[in-house]
């Protein structure tokens, strides 16, 4: 098993932390993982992206040109990464602010309205967990139990009361993701 994933959006959308939780929970399942971010001033309000690789075997390059899965959270990232999905791969995008929908026909495209849902749930901070739920629905390569364990290990104790909210968001994401 090997999954090569890019998550791309705006800084502040939780792109990097979502990638981190994905990598960490896969590590808890004994997988090899790598997480490589765009770094520097980009993190502060510009576009942010992170490459996450999860594999049964030693990972070669942490930097990739094409991906099995692209998780796209804004129009700029869609423009940049739609063409980088391997044929037969998966593209998941949040519909909010997308004016030009993806057009490829040789990949599986999913839409998840996580931004609208998180606002409706009054849980804007759960946005990235809704997206994560959507991913796990279409590609369940890591158990939700590991994700919850990963969140528990990485969050400071004072934030542990947020864990049920996060789990609810993940399950919501699983519900609302739709195939295009």
């Amino acid at each position: 098993m090997k999954q090569e994933i890019i998550i791309a959006g705006f800084g502040g959308q939780g792109v990097l932390s979502m990638g981190k939780i994905l990598a960490y929970s896969s590590l808890l399942e004994g997988k090899e993982v790598s997480w490589f971010p765009s770094y520097g001033p980009e993190q502060r309000g510009g576009t942010a992206n992170v490459t996450v690789i999860v594999s049964d075997n030693r990972i070669s390059s942490p930097i990739l040109n094409t991906f099995d899965v692209a998780i796209i959270l804004n129009q700029q990232s869609l423009n940049k990464f739609e063409s980088k999905v391997k044929p037969g791969g998966i593209l998941i995008y949040d519909g909010y602010g997308i004016s030009k929908e993806p057009t490829r026909t040789d990949i599986f495209i999913y839409r998840i309205n996580a931004m609208d849902t998180s606002i409706a749930m009054n849980a804007a901070k759960s946005f990235n967990m809704i997206i994560l739920g959507g991913l796990l629905k279409v590609l369940p390569f890591v158990n939700i139990e590991s994700i919850m364990q990963g969140l528990k290990n990485s969050l400071p104790e004072r934030h542990h009361h947020m864990l049920p909210t996060n789990e609810a968001a993940i399950r919501k994401g699983m519900e609302i993701i739709e195939k295009i």
Binding site: K20, A23, Y24, L27, E32, V33, S34, W35, F36, P37, Y39, G40, P41, I59, S60, S61, P62, I63, L64, N65
Partner: protein, 360 residues
């Protein structure tokens, strides 16, 4: 042991490993892309547990001179920086070399020259391997290609530094510093007590007891004959290191007809290129120098019997390629492929270049 397996950035792994391997002091100055080293140390507050000192200096120049002071006392001390900051540290590094002092420097390269870019680069190979400061000196240079090696080489760097009384450099780049991977952290080692230091390192300046002469840490010697002798001693030490400490990794090299030579982050990308090449039936291997000084000269030369050509891949205009060319000594063609300014080549791009080389 399970709690020692963590998901960490390369920079964070350096900090964790330093505390664990009995480091006495870190002195640094913030610069992207390595600031997480000092940030992590400040968060972990090792002065409350192991007693390790962590201090933010007023400049890279001050930081390396604090390291010089601490190293003279026989302490395990370190600093870290990135390219513009490493330029400033060259003065202190030359003095440390001249005074035979051990120390660890983590250099997380970014693109230059000048202020350049905060994105990744390997353009400081010459600066590190050929001695960026004044005088004939060398530093042991370890090139990590993973977060695990960032932790391991922090420990190894200190060990080698004290084995030879030399500065060890962990030469990483923005990619290795910023990426996260699984890492098994090293076991805890106790810091040496002052009495243990006195015993192990009789040259250390911990205060002069009545029964010995003063210890003086200096690189100054105005008598030319004595100064030449000091230089000869240094060169002897470097020869010894060349004999004992060469490290490298070979990937898919057994039957290779063509060889990529790359270090650090570019070796990781090249590893992918080898995978892609093998899928296409191209017999491509990867030779990864782990020590850049001492350079695996003989080990690369050994391939000239079986390999038709070598391509070095670096994030620079062609630096390590000079050492590879010296190693093969004109026996087979050696070409260089590099990207600069923070651009990182893709594995596919490198494969294309390799195929062109093969077609020649």
């Amino acid at each position: 042991m399970e709690q020692d397996i963590k998901l960490l950035k390369g920079n964070e792994a350096v900090a964790e490993a330093a505390i664990r391997c009995g480091c006495d002091g870190y002195f640094g100055y913030p610069i992207t892309p390595q600031s997480e080293i000092m940030e992590t140390l400040m968060q972990l507050e090792p002065w409350k547990t192991t007693g390790m000192v962590v201090l933010q200096a007023e400049s890279e120049v001050a930081a390396i001179n604090m390291v010089y002071g601490g190293a003279g006392c026989g302490k395990r001390v370190m600093t870290s920086s990135s390219s513009p900051g490493m330029s400033l540290k060259q003065e202190g590094l030359s003095y440390m070399a001249g005074a035979d002092l051990p120390g660890l420097v983590v250099s997380v390269m970014r693109g230059g020259p000048g202020l350049g870019t905060i994105q990744s680069s390997q353009a400081d190979y010459f600066q590190t391997v050929k001695g960026g400061g004044h005088g004939d000196y060398k530093m042991i240079t370890l090139a990590p290609a993973s977060v695990q090696e960032m932790a391991d080489f922090t420990v190894l760097g200190f060990e080698l530094a004290f084995k030879y009384n030399i500065v060890s450099v962990v030469l990483a780049d923005g990619i290795i510093g910023q990426m996260m991977e699984k890492v098994q952290l090293p076991p805890y080692q106790k810091r040496l007590t002052n009495d243990e230091i006195r015993e192990k390192y009789p040259w250390a300046t911990l205060g002069k007891p009545a029964n010995r002469k003063p210890n003086v840490i200096t690189s100054l010697e105005l008598d030319s004959a004595l100064m030449e002798q000091r230089n000869l001693n240094l060169q002897k030490k470097y020869k010894e290191i060349e004999k004992n400490e060469v490290r490298y990794e070979e990937i898919a090299c057994e039957d290779a007809e063509y060889l990529l030579v790359a270090f650090g982050s570019s070796a990781r990308i090249c590893q992918k290129t080898v995978e892609l090449a093998r899928e296409k039936g191209i017999k491509l291997g990867l030779f990864r120098p782990i020590t850049l000084f001492p350079f695996p000269t003989n080990e690369i030369y050994a391939y000239t019997n079986t390999v038709k050509a070598i391509l070095t891949v670096e994030l620079n205009a062609g630096q390590m390629v000079e050492d590879v060319r010296l190693a093969v000594n004109g026996t087979i063609p050696v070409e260089h492929y590099g990207r600069m300014g923070g651009i990182v080549p893709t594995a596919e791009e490198i494969l294309e270049v390799t195929e062109k080389l093969i077609a020649k």
